[in-house]
């Protein structure tokens, strides 16, 4: 490998004095840089694998692609959740070809090797030819992913055995995850169904877009038209105009350390927890008021309002988005090349939510989010035309200076909701990891 700490050209160009922050466009369009990202970012950072609620029973499993590796996330017979590489230790075939299910064991269909749902090799489908003690040290068991840790039900893997803990990695993002999970009095769960789709663009464009307050009004005008129509003749009539005029004054962006960021804003979409809008009807207002009361009793008024009313676009470096907006989406981004990504989006909600509020949550989700909503597809179009534009242009730098400060630490500062300081934090961390200045090791 080349000396990555001194790339041919700098990845980013930071000039505090001039308040400029620029990204070298090679970072979006170079396959060579993507190959280095696989080695330095996706082999060292904590990557989202799945949620505990997806595997409620012993034997439940899902298969996932995470950081380019084929994984099985399984609820083993001992009751523990485990992550294995989905590859037979004999010839390498994937031992599980289903996306999800419940199994006591995984059988490789090539030569019939059988592994327990804890990964232990149970049978080699033969009684002769191999040494008796061939698996005495367990080397032929399914290979366990070096690190698997969880925070509030969100399970992450790390391919670096000596990585810092997930807890330390998440840094300031933990408090934001708490605010999202504390919506529930019991636990948060992934609701049935998932959106899996692809975008012909560099994955970092989606990370940027997922917490970009600046793009909201130009890109999502048709969504706000739709909301405006919904609010006609209700108490919320005029709320969209107010948003258009005052968006940049309400809320903020906070950089949470280690490249994680959150956009906190006020958008009048209604939130199942716990901001009522009139089109939902009076019958759910009572329920939402009761949730607000419960949250206020438990956490105090200020935290209740933060949990209930503030829209949160949370980015977990390098490739997870948890957006608690008109609904909650957990969005995992799997880059496949420098200009192509696979995206999976799930809906998250409180386990104890009533049928009516859950229906509203899911309806709010598809009104905007996902590959057929009124919002996300227009975002996707933006990312694809960015990719097309940078690949066909000699311009070397992308300008991301909005909100740039003269002195503050890029990884932990704050800015306005339509600033670009969250991208500055992401890219500053990305540059540190890519240049080996931060190995994310204990």
């Amino acid at each position: 490998m080349n000396d990555v700490s001194s790339p041919k050209r700098p990845h980013i160009d930071v000039d505090h004095e001039a308040r400029r922050f620029r990204i070298n466009r090679e970072n979006y369009k170079s396959q060579e840089i993507f190959e280095r990202e696989k080695e330095l970012i996706f082999s060292r950072c904590w990557l989202y694998l799945g949620h505990a609620s997806e595997l409620p029973k012993k034997g439940d499993y899902v298969t996932r692609i995470v950081g380019g590796r084929q994984l099985i996330f399984a609820h083993g017979r001992s009751g523990e959740l485990k992550a294995f590489f989905n590859s037979c230790t004999h010839r390498g075939a994937t031992v599980c070809r289903e996306r999800k299910g419940n199994k006591k064991s995984f059988t490789c269909c090539y030569h019939g090797w059988v592994f327990s749902n804890e990964g232990k090799l149970l049978s080699m489908n033969t009684d002769h030819g191999f040494p008796d003690d061939i698996n005495a040290d367990g080397n032929l068991n399914l290979r366990v992913v070096p690190r698997l840790e969880e925070y509030r039900g969100f399970y992450f893997v790390n391919y670096n055995p000596t990585a810092i803990s997930l807890y330390d990695f998440l840094a300031g993002a933990r408090d934001c995850i708490d605010a999202i999970c504390d919506q529930s009095d019991s636990e948060m769960v992934i609701l049935p169904g998932e959106h899996t789709y692809t975008i012909k663009a560099n994955y970092k464009y989606l990370i940027e877009n997922s917490s970009d307050g600046y793009h909201l009004l130009p890109v999502h005008a048709t969504y706000f038209d739709y909301l405006n129509d919904r609010f006609k003749g209700t108490k919320d009539e005029g709320a969209v105009d107010k948003l258009v005029k005052g968006y940049y004054k309400m809320g903020q962006v906070r950089c949470l350390g280690n490249g994680h960021t959150i956009l906190e804003s006020m958008v009048p979409t209604g939130r199942p927890v716990a901001s009522w809008i009139e089109p939902w009807g009076l019958e759910v207002k009572e329920e939402i008021d009761a949730i607000r009361d419960r949250l206020e009793n438990k956490f105090g008024k200020e935290r209740m309002e933060y949990i209930s009313e503030t829209q949160k676009n949370l980015i977990i470096f390098p490739n997870l988005v948890i957006n608690d907006i008109q609904s909650i989406t957990v969005r995992y981004i799997e880059p496949e090349s420098h200009n192509f990504m696979r995206v999976t989006g799930w809906a998250l909600g409180p386990a104890e939510e009533s049928a009516k509020l859950k229906a509203i949550r899911l309806d709010n989700f598809v009104s905007f989010l996902g590959p057929a909503g009124f919002g996300s597809p227009d975002d996707i179009e933006m990312l694809e035309i960015c990719q097309k534009g940078v690949e066909g242009s000699p311009i070397e730098w992308t300008e991301l200076s909005k909100g740039m400060s003269e002195s503050e630490d890029l990884l932990t500062r704050t800015g306005g909701p339509d600033d670009e300081v969250q991208f500055q934090a992401f890219w500053a961390q990305w540059d540190r990891v890519m240049r080996n200045l931060d190995k994310l090791e204990a």
Binding site: R99, L191, P192, G193, E194, H195, T196, Y197, T198, I199, K200, V219, A221, T222, Y223, D225, Y226, D229, R230, R342, W346, A347, A355, K358, A359, L362, D363, F365, V366, S367, G370, P371, A372, F374, S376, P377, D378, I380, E381, M382
Partner: protein, 165 residues
């Protein structure tokens, strides 16, 4: 008012009309084909049971009631619906139309579909099965329910679903 049972041919011609309006991007007229209590739904490609799952308990790709059916038509006619500007070229093929149940006022209809969508130089396909409930209101057929069940496991090849199936 007609007391005649909704016939297979009538249902078929109605589905073809809908397909034509969509391919011609006459979306406001398309929305008028739907009754006031209508739903237009596209189940997630990998849903556990896309035929019987409910959008009230499972995530769908599309779950529109009449206000959002109109909203979708209105949105997609705007230049600011960036994902569909310029409009894709589409071709809806609707085949194997089967009348499952029928009376003078209500019919349940199944059909197979393949929709080709071309955006710039790329063409993708959406294929699967439609489940319709059609109703006769004031002498005219309307859609009360249209659910599309895709023969896909994801939108990996298609990327997104911004046209109406």
């Amino acid at each position: 008012m007609s007391k005649k049972t909704i016939s297979a041919q009538e249902a078929e011609q109605f589905l073809y009309l809908e397909a034509e309006l969509l391919d011609d991007w006459r979306l406001p007229e398309w929305a008028e084909l739907y009754s006031d209590d209508a739903s237009y739904e596209v189940a997630c490609p990998n849903a556990d049971d896309p035929k019987t799952d409910s959008p009230a308990t499972s995530l769908f790709l599309v779950s529109d009631r009449k206000d959002r059916i109109i909203g979708r038509a209105v949105r997609l006619m705007k230049k600011t619906a960036h994902a569909e500007y310029p409009h894709s070229k589409t071709r809806h093929l609707v085949t194997n139309v089967r009348l499952l149940e029928s009376s003078a006022d209500v019919a349940k209809v199944k059909a197979n579909f393949c929709v080709y969508r071309t955006k710039e130089d790329n063409t993708v396909m959406y294929m699967g099965e439609f489940n319709y409930t059609l109703v006769r209101q004031d002498g005219e057929l309307k859609v009360r329910l249209k659910r599309a069940i895709l023969d896909l496991n994801s939108l990996y090849e298609q990327g997104r679903l911004t046209i109406i199936l």
